[in-house]
């Protein structure tokens, strides 16, 4: 279990997301963690449409009484591939069975990719980017302002599957499959990346009995988590034979302040963008056959129950703070 080091300056983070059930849990985890300051949310297509994702992000921030955090709308289509959304996984609203009131707040006028560029460039070395959806916004930002790869402090990406099977095709993980060309741009950009692939996220299963433990009286947060994850668990059971739900994005977020939850290896990682059955597949040059230098840290080992306990503890604390 991570120790909150009171002496460490909180990390300033921006979350690029397609909320999305586990994305929403990641947003809540960020708000529940004093080790990070959430300075903005940029929305991308993916689990649901970008428009729906924007409403969800605003609604989740409102639920957590954090509406001061700016939400910026990003890209609604992948770069090259046709649109692919995941209503069977996240429901028609993207939040499973959860029904949040229509948000009163609005997104900012600035495009998500420009928000990323402006925040990163005006705070060089300060901003940690947590990208937990398809990488379209990030790729567009990099192509528009190449210097963000040096100016960003670090980038945590939820995506890929290295030694693990795919969850969207037999070979590919969802975020990468939805926009493999964007992933290609980001992976080869020189950005300092920590990748959280299915290899580790699929070990982090949130079970019904875990969710039961976040029952804090008088808070709407536990009910939201319960309703959102119940749909997600039904999907995992029906489609993948898993009892519980895999919470990919919260693990990615947790690594920004509790990196010791995982073990990492540095590899040259690439993504297949050729038009065949392997499109969207990520692979690491384990035996260094390409001669290319490592371009990212990849989380390949995790202590799942330590992470789940951390997550539950933070959700309980958040629920106690918020009516």
């Amino acid at each position: 279990m991570s120790r909150h080091n009171e002496n460490m300056t909180p990390k300033r983070i921006i979350i690029d997301t397609d909320p999305g059930i586990d994305d929403s849990l990641a947003i809540l985890l960020a708000l529940a963690s004093p080790e990070v300051i959430l300075e903005g949310v940029t929305v991308v297509h993916g689990n649901c449409s970008m428009e729906q994702g924007t409403l969800n992000a605003l609604a989740v921030l409102e639920l957590a009484k954090a509406s001061h955090i700016p939400v910026a709308k990003g890209c609604e289509l992948p770069l090259v591939q046709p649109s692919l959304l995941a209503p069977e996984t996240h429901g028609n609203t993207g939040l499973g069975y959860a029904q949040l009131p229509s948000p009163g707040s609005r997104p900012i006028a600035q495009h998500g990719c420009d928000f990323l560029i402006e925040k990163i460039m005006s705070n060089p070395g300060e901003i940690t980017l947590v990208a937990i959806g398809p990488l379209t916004n990030v790729a567009l930002a990099i192509r528009k302002e190449p210097r963000i790869v040096q100016a960003v402090r670090e980038t945590f990406i939820m995506g890929g599957a290295i030694r693990h099977e795919g969850n969207t095709t037999p070979l590919a993980e969802f975020n990468t499959y939805v926009d493999p060309h964007a992933a290609h741009i980001v992976y080869h950009s020189g950005m300092p990346i920590t990748l959280t692939p299915l290899d580790v996220t699929y070990q982090c299963v949130l079970r019904a009995e875990d969710v039961e433990r976040i029952k804090v009286a008088g808070s709407e947060v536990p009910a939201f988590i319960e309703d959102a994850t119940r749909f997600y668990m039904e999907f995992h059971d029906e489609y993948q034979g898993i009892q519980g739900c895999v919470i990919n994005d919260p693990l990615t977020l947790a690594l920004t302040f509790a990196p010791e939850l995982c073990n990492y290896d540095e590899y040259y990682v690439d993504v297949d963008i050729s038009d065949g059955v392997s499109i969207g597949k990520t692979f690491a040059d384990i035996y260094k056959v390409t001669g290319n230098p490592a371009n990212m840290k990849v989380a390949l080992g995790v202590r799942p129950r330590d992470f789940i306990e951390l997550f539950l503890d933070r959700m309980e604390k958040l629920s106690s703070k918020i009516p």
Binding site: L79, I273, S274
Partner: protein, 310 residues
């Protein structure tokens, strides 16, 4: 009514000749240039654009700098065809003007959304800026009155790989985005541009006019002609990019067909090749007008006349 145009460009010798032809043509009002990587790096392209506009005394025309890399692949810019500066042997003074502060992507979005259906876009380099504008602003594609692209090779062989033409090959994914965007497109492929050869002896005609413009053309094209001759034995250079303006100044010289045209982005040997669905095998409706024949000599003559009278 003058056609109001913005040119997205990677100058580039024949790009520069296109600016000249646009400014020499009363049918056209050149309103801005946006630069992309392609023939040269985007920084060189911006410099060359500003320098050529200054040579022609039209520095009020804004230049907006765009993307420095294609979407996915490596940068394909090289010194081979267009020389180290990108303008062959032409030596223009360092421009005194600056590009506008706005990124080309945002400049294009702003201009076209401000006057939807009023401005035409001429894309004579890789399509990276356009693709990113399309993806950043979903309303951009329908705001463009028409898009004329120099690119592709339909029945003609490629000029950078056996199957692919340079602009498309340099960013095939951007081409894919643009081709499928719904924008009204006119394609000017190698099929027609290879028939618009400006020969050395015709360039000699310009030598007699000893003006800054004629000297520029002679100097800029010298390397380009040498390169073409070394590859094909033909002592001349194709007026690829200028031919796009024929759609405005002499459309009767071109023969068009409407087809569904696609680009290969598979990553194999056909990457960047463009092909038309002539026999409707895909069932996909036509997405562009393609120029498949041209009275090339007549176009070159028209070009020379306009240059002589500059």
């Amino acid at each position: 009514m003058k056609k109001r145009i913005i040119i997205d460009t990677d100058p580039g010798v024949d790009d520069a000749l296109t600016f000249l032809l646009a400014l020499a043509s009363p049918e056209v009002k050149l309103e801005a240039l946006t630069t992309t990587q392609g023939n040269v790096t985007v920084e060189k392209g911006t410099r060359n654009s500003l320098a050529v506009l200054e040579l022609l005394g039209v520095s009020h025309i804004p230049v907006a700098q765009g993307t420095s890399l294609p979407l996915v692949g490596p940068l394909r810019a090289s010194d081979q065809v267009h020389g180290q500066s990108g303008l062959g042997n032409a030596r223009l003074p360092e421009p005194t003007n600056q590009p506008v502060p706005q990124h080309a992507i945002d400049y294009l979005i702003e201009r076209f959304l401000a006057e939807p259906g009023e401005l035409s876009l001429f894309a004579i380099g890789p399509l990276t800026n356009l693709a990113l504008a399309i993806r950043k602003e979903p309303r951009f594609a329908s705001a463009v009155k028409e898009l004329v692209i120099m690119g592709g090779a339909i029945r003609e062989g490629g000029n950078i790989t056996p199957q692919a033409e340079f602009n498309i090959y340099a960013d095939p994914h951007a081409a894919h985005i643009v081709f499928h965007s719904g924008m009204p497109i006119t394609l000017i492929p190698l099929d027609v541009t290879h028939k618009t050869m400006l020969y050395s002896n015709q360039i000699d005609r310009l030598k007699t006019i000893d003006s800054p413009v004629s000297r520029f053309i002679v100097d800029a094209t010298a390397d380009y002609v040498r390169y073409t001759e070394s590859k094909t034995g033909i002592p001349g250079c194709a007026l690829h990019d200028p031919l796009t303006l024929a759609t405005v100044i002499a459309p009767e010289l071109l023969t068009f067909e409407e087809h569904f045209v696609n680009v290969d982005i598979s990553g194999g040997v056909s990457t960047g090749s463009t092909f038309a669905d002539f026999y409707h095998t895909t069932g996909v409706p036509a997405n562009m007008k393609v120029a498949l024949d041209v009275r090339g000599d007549d176009f070159v003559e028209l070009f020379l006349q306009r240059m002589e009278n500059f």
